[in-house]
Structures are given as C-alpha cells and as structure tokens.
C-alpha cells in the first residue's frame, strides 16, 4: 500500500504532541540537569529533539531499569503489569528504534512471552527522528542500519528545516497520522529535501566495513590472546551495558517489609562478577576476560545464532561512555585483523 507522507510546521509540534497525548502517554527526550533521557512529556514541557543521541537509550520506556513484577502478601500475589494508556515514543533515533525489534525477539518468543515488556510495547507507536547529522562515534551503517533507517519505527520523522516530514512506516502509524487534521500532505519538494538530507547523512558516515564474516571470525578466536589484550584495561563496570539499547539482561530480587513485599526485576550486567557466580562460590566466568568475551560474543555471535541478527545497533553510546575507551568499533576491526593474521599463518 502506498502511504502518503505528511508535513508539520515546526511551530505546530507542541500541538501535535498534545494531540498525540490524547490517545497515548507520550515519551520524548527531555533534558534535565545536563542529562537527556526519555521520559513522559508533561504538558508544556519542551522535548530535547535537538539532542543527537540521548544519554540513556529509550529501552527503559518499555523495559524500566527497576520494575515491580508482582506484589505479595502472605500467599496472595498480584501481578503488576503496566495498565496505563498505550505509549507513544517520540524522537527515538533510528538505531534506538531498531533496538526494539531486537529486544522484542528476546522478550516475545513462541514459548514464553514477557508480559511486562508486552504490556508496554503492545499498541505503542514509535516516531523515530532521522539523523541529519550522525555523530563521529555512530556506526549504525555497519549493522544494516542507517541514519534514516525505519526499522522498528511506525513513523519516520525528518527535520527539513522549518518543518518535519512524517513518513508512515506501519499501518498503525498511517492510521494515526491520517487522523490528525493539522498535518498537511508533503509536497514533492519537501520529499526531495528529506531525500537530500538522507543522502548527505549517509555519505557523511563513510563506507562501512563488511561484517558478514564477523561471527565466523569471532567463533574462531574463542581462545585467542586477543581477549586478554582487550580486557586488560576493562574496569568491569556497566557503563557499556547500561547505556546499550540492546542489552537486556536482568536480575530478579525480592524486597519486603513486615509481611508485604514485591518481586522486582532490574537491569543486570554480564560485566559484573556476580552475574554468573553460583551459590557454591563457583563462577564459570571468573575474570574480566571471560565477562568481556561474553558481552562481545553475545552481541556478535550468540545473538546472531539465536535471533538471526547482530545484537548491536551501532548507536555508539558505549564508545562514548567507556571510561577507558574500549571502542567496540576498534574491537571489530581488531577481530578481522587477528582472524586474517591467523589465516595468513596457516
């Protein structure tokens, strides 16, 4: 089905978001004290759409860092799935939008559905904002993404200067857009402008390396000294995994007081020793080398095996936040170089 592209003058954005708020709880990037993260947009509050890449990824909109799973009192349990209005996420970048597709494959599989994820994610609308100016640390184009990629979006929004173009991607997106009067049909010239911005943005990112053989190369390097080298400076913190839009590992904990309690789930990180430490004290991943290998293998080998794609969207947050500058792009290049070197030796 051919769907129309719409146009919204920038001055009307607030009104548009109000309209969106009638049916949805709107989450958008908001700046608070120097930190830009997604949160519920309050009436009159300004969204930080100018900000290229939010400090925190929007995964916490659908998968909060700490979340009550159920309440209990003695034997009685009450599940605590989200019961609010459907969520509209406005201003996620294409890399982040793609992360929802990857996370969805983990949380919803044929055998088990995660009801907490589903309660927030189902019926949600994702408006992603195309990146006219990708950052130097962005590498979405290495991973089948791009600054104008629409994977995981219901609507792709493009900034064309004085206006935003709204390109419906899903039928849900289209049906919402077509219900909003203040949107006008985009002209051919508008679409051309967006097209130009897209070409410029894609060009600015340069030619990406081909990652087709990354999984095979990685699998072959399981015991390679490469891991000692990469992990030697790792601090073992979770700045990478907690800022990653596709990292989803969690812990489950009980908190209680005087007979009442909750079971909560909270983000956990494969970089922490406790992640795999067993009750007996045995830890199958005893050092940072094992843990760092798990992180990279999970993203570029296991995830591929399980979910058919790399578990990384190339947002570049870990590149920017790692306190010791472990650069995942460098790691990938290093893997190819090491694999090639090995091939040469044989």
């Amino acid at each position: 089905m051919e769907m129309d592209t719409y146009k919204l003058q920038k001055g009307n954005l607030e009104r548009f978001l109000q309209k969106l708020g009638e049916k949805f709880v709107v989450h958008a990037p908001v700046e608070s004290d120097g930190v830009v993260a997604f949160s519920e947009l309050m009436p009159g509050q300004e969204s930080a759409l100018y900000f290229p890449r939010t400090h925190k990824p929007p995964k916490d909109v659908f998968y909060p860092q700490t979340e009550v799973m159920f309440h209990y009192e003695k034997d009685i349990t009450h599940s605590a799935e989200y019961k609010g209005k459907p969520i509209a996420l406005f201003g996620a970048r294409p890399c982040d939008a793609k992360s929802f597709v990857l996370l969805e494959r983990v949380f919803i599989d044929p055998k088990y559905e995660d009801p907490y994820w589903a309660a927030r994610r189902n019926n949600a609308l994702v408006f992603s904002l195309a990146c006219n100016d990708p950052l130097p640390s962005c590498f979405c184009n290495w991973l089948d993404g791009g600054p104008f990629s629409n994977t995981g979006s219901d609507v792709l929004v493009t900034d064309i200067g004085d206006a935003y173009l709204f390109e419906p991607i899903s039928e849900n997106g289209e049906s919402f857009l077509s219900s909003v009067d203040m949107l006008k049909k985009a002209t051919k010239k508008d679409i051309e402008k967006a097209q130009n911005a897209k070409e410029r943005a894609e060009l600015s990112m340069g030619e990406p390396p081909k990652l087709d053989s990354l999984k095979v190369s990685l699998d072959a390097l399981w015991d390679d000294p490469l891991w000692d080298k990469v992990s030697s400076k790792c601090l073992g913190c979770a700045a990478c995994t907690y800022s990653c839009p596709t990292c989803y590992c969690f812990d489950i904990q009980d908190e209680s007081r005087r007979g009442k309690g909750v079971r909560i789930r909270l983000w956990d990180s494969c970089m922490f020793p406790l992640f795999t430490k067993e009750g007996s004290g045995h830890n199958p991943r005893p050092t940072r080398k094992y843990r760092l290998r798990q992180r990279f293998m999970h993203k570029f080998s296991y995830f591929v095996e399980k979910q058919g794609e790399f578990g990384c969207v190339g947002c570049g947050r870990c590149v920017s936040f790692c306190p010791v500058n472990i650069d995942i792009r460098n790691f990938i290049i290093g893997v190819f170089q090491t694999a090639q070197g090995k091939g040469g030796e044989q």
Partner: protein, 147 residues
C-alpha cells in the same frame, strides 16, 4: 506533630553503655520509651552502614554509645569508632541531614543517670525535628494497588 513519638535505634556497647542502661533500669530511672536497643560488643563494631540502614528503614534517629575514651574493653575500639563517626557525621550533615538524627555518646557502666539524660535529650531533639524524611526508603511500591 505534637503526638509524634519517634522511633530511635540505639547501639550500645556491651561493656559500658549497655551496663549503664541496665543500671538506669534497676535504679528505676525514668527515660522515654522511644528507643530500641541493639547490644554490640564495642562501639567500634558499629559500621556507619548500620546507621544509614536504620535511617533508610524509617528510624527517626540513631544513637551509638560506647565506653569513655580510655575505658574501652578492647583498648582502642572506641577511638577508632570516634574517627569513623566524625567522618560519618561530617558527610551526613554536609549533605543536609539534620544534625540531631545521628548522635554519639560515651556512657559508662556506672552512669545510669547519664544514660537516661542522653536518651531524653536524643528523643527530645528528634521530636523537634519531626519524622525522618531524608534517606527513608519509600515503600510505596510494596502497597499493591489491589488492596
């Protein structure tokens, strides 16, 4: 607020302050009933984390009491404790915690009277401050919306 009866946690060292409390008891000296007592071997045993934990769990005040300097059963436990408490108090008050919430005292086994005075003073101080707010862990999430 007039009816506010604070909950105060006291950590008493086994050798002096606990005995002091005991003496206050057998001597039938009156003091406010707002305290819960945890007996510890030495004031040096009290990890500042215990104190923070009490505040987090909703105690309105915390008192640690040990032997007078020079009288420690373990020679120097209270000297080390004194340094830890000085730093804890500095940190908490710098952050904006009310000074009266966390208190320290030396009470010997013979000071039943002093013990009751200390408890009265701490209780009165905390009463004026009102219920603790800072650092208290909200347990709202424990309340099921189904109740």
């Amino acid at each position: 607020m007039k009816d506010f009866e604070p909950k105060i946690m006291t950590f008493l060292c086994n050798w002096c302050s606990y005995a002091g409390a005991d003496l206050a008891g057998v001597s039938r000296i009156q003091y406010p009933p707002n305290t819960r007592v945890i007996r510890v071997p030495c004031s040096g045993r009290v990890d500042p984390l215990f104190i923070l934990k009490c505040l987090q769990d909703g105690y309105d005040g915390v008192l640690v009491s040990g032997c007078h300097p020079g009288d420690c059963h373990y020679i120097s436990g209270n000297y080390v404790a004194r340094r830890k408490f000085a730093i804890l108090k500095t940190a908490l008050e710098f952050m904006g915690m009310e000074p009266g919430r966390v208190q320290f005292s030396w009470v010997s086994a013979g000071e039943g009277e002093k013990f009751s005075q200390v408890i009265s003073k701490v209780t009165e101080g905390v009463k004026i401050l009102g219920p603790a707010r800072k650092l208290v862990k909200s347990m709202d999430s424990l309340e099921s919306p189904h109740d």
